[in-house]
């Protein structure tokens, strides 16, 4: 789950990270009022889950409250990478002497959270990594001990020669690490970390990505989810414990397991069709999940045929069969249904389906080809 900049900054502030004052506005009037309250130049920043906000014109420097009103009018409602800007962050504009990058990411290869710090912050850090990798220091952390002061100081001195600045940066890194662990992040970054002409070290932008597996045990973090910034069908699916991603094709897919779901989409394409979605009903299925899956898929009017591809392991295929029967009894389908189902409790599942007038195949290629043909209007 992605957090907005203002949410990430609120969390970081709670851990002591120095951040210029700022608040969220949803109207130009509010933006103007905030600029008046701060009595200084401000930044007006679009709050959407997309990178490259600045390049898209979603981040503006405003000298006066009238300027803030004008810029907020332009930014609110604008589209950035297909997302509508509903909120802006109005924040005191810091005087920037230098810009550094500080990030933590859970690294698959090292199997640890890894700090990445660079004095060449502010710009595209991927570009720095690709072109001048020596400008980035990587430092893995043993979570059993946490980031020790000497480690934070090593990183601080990598950014700044001056001991005062290095100490201030080291303290921020320990605070960032504490926020990262406490919030269940898979990524947290401050970019840029700036030094002002008066020698203050400040976090001017913050980003956090939360591991979805943490949300059940961190309700305060889970409550930060902004559903208005997501595809409604994906929100509906998630609230029903399904993983759903809407795509542009016409073959609706209901599959158990992410790997098989991706392989099914690949096979739809292999046989000349286009998948309408990725949908993983997960393990430990119950009939209710299938009912919800069918409701979400049939709401997409692009869907011309629905394909079930279920290989039962921990998922019991009889649960899926019962779900299909229940769902189609309540809401008869308007598009053809192709069922491929094999594995745990397959005999019971086949019996349930046959008794209710459905046919099912146990061959994946056969079922995919049939669904692709039906979506194209074939028989």
């Amino acid at each position: 789950m992605n957090l907005h900049e203002y949410q990430a900054k609120d969390i970081l502030k709670g851990f002591g990270v120095p951040i210029p004052p700022g608040e969220v506005a949803t109207t130009p009037e509010q933006a103007k009022a905030l600029a008046e309250k701060y009595g200084t130049a401000v930044m007006v920043k679009a709050q959407v889950h997309a990178g490259g906000r600045g390049k898209a014109g979603g981040v503006k420097f405003c000298k006066t409250p009238a300027d803030a009103f004008e810029k907020a009018t332009a930014i609110l409602g604008m589209q950035i990478k297909g997302l509508t800007v509903e909120k802006v962050l109005v924040t005191v504009a810091a005087d920037i002497g230098s810009e550094a990058y500080v990030g933590i990411i859970v690294d698959r290869a090292r199997k640890k959270p890894v700090f990445m710090v660079s004095a060449a912050g502010g710009i595209d850090i991927e570009q720095v990594a690709a072109e001048t990798p020596e400008k980035i220091k990587y430092h893995p952390v043993d979570v059993r001990y946490g980031l020790q002061t000497y480690e934070a100081m090593q990183l601080g001195f990598f950014l700044y020669q001056d001991v005062k600045l290095a100490r201030a940066a080291a303290k921020i890194m320990q605070q960032l690490y504490a926020a990262f662990m406490a919030s269940g992040c898979s990524l947290a970054e401050i970019n840029p970390l700036v030094v002002t002409p008066t020698g203050e070290v400040l976090a001017v932008d913050g980003k956090m990505v939360i591991d979805d597996n943490e949300l059940d045990r961190k309700p305060a973090v889970a409550a930060l989810r902004d559903e208005s910034s997501e595809e409604p069908s994906e929100v509906d699916a998630r609230n029903n414990n399904l993983t759903f991603i809407k795509l542009d094709g016409d073959v609706g897919c209901v599959v158990n397991g992410a790997g098989l779901a991706m392989a099914t989409m690949d096979l739809v394409k292999y046989y000349g069709g286009e998948p309408a979605n990725f949908l993983d009903i997960g393990g430990s299925s119950n009939p209710e999940k299938v009912v919800n899956a069918l409701r979400i898929i049939t709401a997409d009017t692009n869907v011309k045929a629905i394909l079930f591809n279920i290989f039962g392991g921990i998922t019991r295929t009889d649960d899926v069969a019962n779900g299909i029967v229940t769902a189609t009894k309540a809401n008869p389908l308007k598009v053809p249904l192709v069922i491929r189902l094999t594995g745990t409790n397959e005999e019971i599942a086949m019996k349930i389906l046959t008794e209710n007038g459905f046919s099912a195949s146990s061959d994946m290629d056969e079922a995919v080809q049939k669904a692709v043909a039906l979506a194209k209007g074939g028989k």
């Binding site: 859970v106 290869a109 597996n213 397991g257 992410a258 392989a263 096979l267 292999y270 094999t342 994946m364």
Partner: protein, 290 residues
Amino acid sequence: MSVFINKDTKLVVQGITGRDGSFHTKQMMEYGTQVVAGVTPGKGGQTFESTVPIYNTVADAVSATGANTAVIYVPPPFAADAIMEAADSGVQLVVCITEGVPVLDMTKVYPFVKERGIRLIGPNCPGLISPGESKVGIIPGRICTPGPVGVVSRSGTLTYEIVYQLTRAGIGQTSCVGIGGDPINGTNFIDCLAAFEADPHTKAVAMMGEIGGTDEQEAADFVKHHMTKPVVGFIAGQTAPPGRRMGHAGAIISGSAGTAAEKIEAFEAAGMGVAKRPLDFVELIKARLK
């Protein structure tokens, strides 16, 4: 012959009385796995299905029964503790089926397990099976048959699909290992490839990867430099849109890192066979067994 588990595997089941744990314990017992103990705190002294003794702790179960392998079916908030409990109990192999374990928990668990020299498979995996000998986890036994092919996969149900297609074509397996799709897991492709290379009965290996990360590229490099046996690979997610997460935490592509195309290129560069769809494994493996 097989890797990691065989007919001498003596299994303790953590979470044996739960919905998934009890269902799959029965399936393992029917398959012939020696399930010697179960663990559910507070139910010590009872028995499962009137035959398997239940203990309060894994340590009790191991000292009473000599179990050498543990399988975990406990809910995600308790999974990290369950893995560490198993790794501290004297078993040599720990298999964690649980899906949804927070990755920061695994950053703690991984070094704990490694320092004890224990092999962990998973989490978020279907476990493993050595056809005709033993099954630990949830892979449906009836889709497997003994034979010369080693199978290793990051996915659960996709593994079943490919094993099923091999079995239908009369191609059996030495062992099938599902390593799981999470960003941090105990056993990776290379560990399994090395085990299959060392297993005298394995003649070829089928490997299923996914988009995201660089594990498949590193595995391809291992195949090129350290394996004499033929390997056929497949990558799921060839049509996945960039930057979107497809269920598995591992299945993320952003930019060019970890795309299907990049991984397939690494397979080809290592001289591996590349299956474009699951069914292609049959012909590609057949050709390499001749």
